[in-house]
Symmetry: C2
Subunit: 323 residues, 2 copies
């Protein structure tokens, strides 16, 4: 369990953060997207990583918010690119305002993230910023690969894993490394936090892909089979496209090319193909492999056992979630 | 005159800058827009400001390129928002590639600008980044005001001057301040560089507005009257809207509301209205006031006279340009 005071302090810090005032069209969307909620996993990871090495974990609060602001900046711009109407059940910024405002507010959010990072103590600042710059560029690279993959049917497993690593996992790695550096971790331990975070992050994304098909409808927040209906190129689909041969392959590509279909029928049919190919087991095995590598990295972290336990327990809860 | 070695070193540094490689769709547009040319005024200002206080002006090269990269990032995103087809006579990034690529490449360019700024020596880094963050946010604010003004006919002179200050002038001020800080200027001299740059920058923008109407067609690069044809809310139009009364006001608003017209006839008619209202003289007087304030700030800069002369001579040339 994560202590309530971490969550409360983070919540307060996000509420107190000043993004700017005028023109309102520029700054209102920032407050809007930041207040849509979310689990705040990344900044909590930053606080826990800092706490590994210091009682003064509060000095990681502003940098932790920087990570959350950066994450929400990527959501704001990704939503434009994906033409997404909703984010966490509410209208996206480009829908509620317009495209230009979503571009420009996002730009200022990225600047805001850098401003919050300036709170890092001077001896660590250059190192933190260099790592953040690399991470931010990688997240953009991941988004570009993801967009490129939309029009390709020959995406390999290796390419897909590299894409999700860049698009979603390096930021979790950075969130942990950032906390470590602020707390006083040496290079080796900061690297273990980062690498562990990246592995766990890849495992999370693969589990997202898996739950979309094999999740318990009673527990899974979204419609089970949504990715299948949308032909979304998930790990499961990429794996199935690579494994299937003969009539099974024809059946799968048939479902992918059909523009009119009964949704439930398509979900059942594609799931049956996955079942025949053993895609669930292949995916679960990959997920377990990444989680195991992540925990192996965390195990090597040198820190007080009681403090490490909090990070490990929290991560284990995330790993075991079913929604 | 600016020494050829400043220009040559800057040119080489821009050519050598690594923006990233894969995916190509993400990084090719950065190289494309950076190679469209331009006068490179802002980074040259950075180098000259550094040279005021150090012979080792080359240590300002990467930060100077950061300013140019940031400037081109704003152009890439502004061109999307303005739906501009051309930039320096070539297709804009969103036209040559697409909107999503222009958003995402721009995002990475902003990250690249921060990465180049990390070259600033550690003792100055935090101060430089804090100033850059403020400047970057202000540039976005200026762009938002500019977009807001498009649908308003009651924009005041004060609002317009504040908008161009934010959108275009604070970056020139930052370019100069940055060079000063890197060279070793104290707070007072860095502030003079910044304030002088802002005043000169506002003067430049007003002169742009003026030349569009009163420029010599033989010297002016663009079509004289382009702003009038497009109903662009320039200093001249805002001033005319505020000064005109009675039948002159009706005539002006008539031209603004007409959707079909002979371009040459509109340019001549609106120019004649400006002439009757003395808009040229009002604008020239404002330009001279800003230039005078800029030079007054520069005059107070404490630096070796020979070094200051280079900055003053270069600025004077810019101020006297007629295109």
């Amino acid at each position: 369990m994560i202590p309530a005071n971490f969550i409360e302090a983070l919540h307060q810090e996000i509420l107190q953060t000043q993004y700017g005032r005028y023109p309102a069209e520029l700054y209102d969307p920032i407050r809007y997207i930041m207040n849509l909620g979310g689990k705040r996993l990344r900044p909590l990871m930053t606080l826990m990583a800092a706490y590994l090495y210091t009682d003064d974990w509060k000095k990681a609060l502003k940098p932790a918010v920087a990570v959350e602001v950066f994450h929400n900046f990527t959501l704001m711009h990704d939503d434009i690119m994906d033409q997404a109407p909703l984010r966490r059940g509410q209208p996206t910024v480009h829908e509620k305002w317009n495209h230009n405002i979503a571009i420009l507010s996002g730009d200022v959010m990225l600047v805001n993230a850098y401003e919050l990072l300036l709170d890092v103590e001077t001896p660590h600042l250059k190192r933190v910023l260099a790592r953040f710059n690399r991470t931010a560029a990688e997240v953009c690279e991941g988004q570009q690969w993801d967009m490129n993959f939309e029009t390709r049917w020959d995406v390999t497993e290796t390419e897909y894993l590299e894409m999700i690593k860049l698009k979603t996992s390096v930021l979790l790695g950075f969130a942990l490394e950032l906390g470590g550096i602020i707390g006083g971790a040496d290079e080796a331990n900061a690297a273990r936090l980062r690498e562990g975070g990246i592995d766990i992050g890849i495992g999370f994304q693969l589990k997202d892909d898996l739950l979309d098909v094999y999740g318990d409808p009673a527990k899974f927040g979204k419609q089970v089979g949504g990715d299948i209906i949308a032909n979304k190129k998930t790990f499961l689909l990429i794996e199935a496209l690579q494994q299937a041969t003969g009539s099974l392959k024809d059946e799968l590509t048939g479902w992918l090319s059909r523009t009119e279909f009964d949704k439930q029928e398509k979900v059942q049919a594609v799931t049956a193909i996955y079942d025949q190919l053993g895609i669930r087991e292949i995916t679960e095995s990959r997920i377990n492999q990444y989680f195991a590598e992540g925990f192996a990295n965390f195990d090597q972290i040198e820190a007080e056992p009681a403090r490490k336990d909090m990070l490990l327990t929290f991560t284990r809860q995330l790993v075991e979630r079913e929604s």
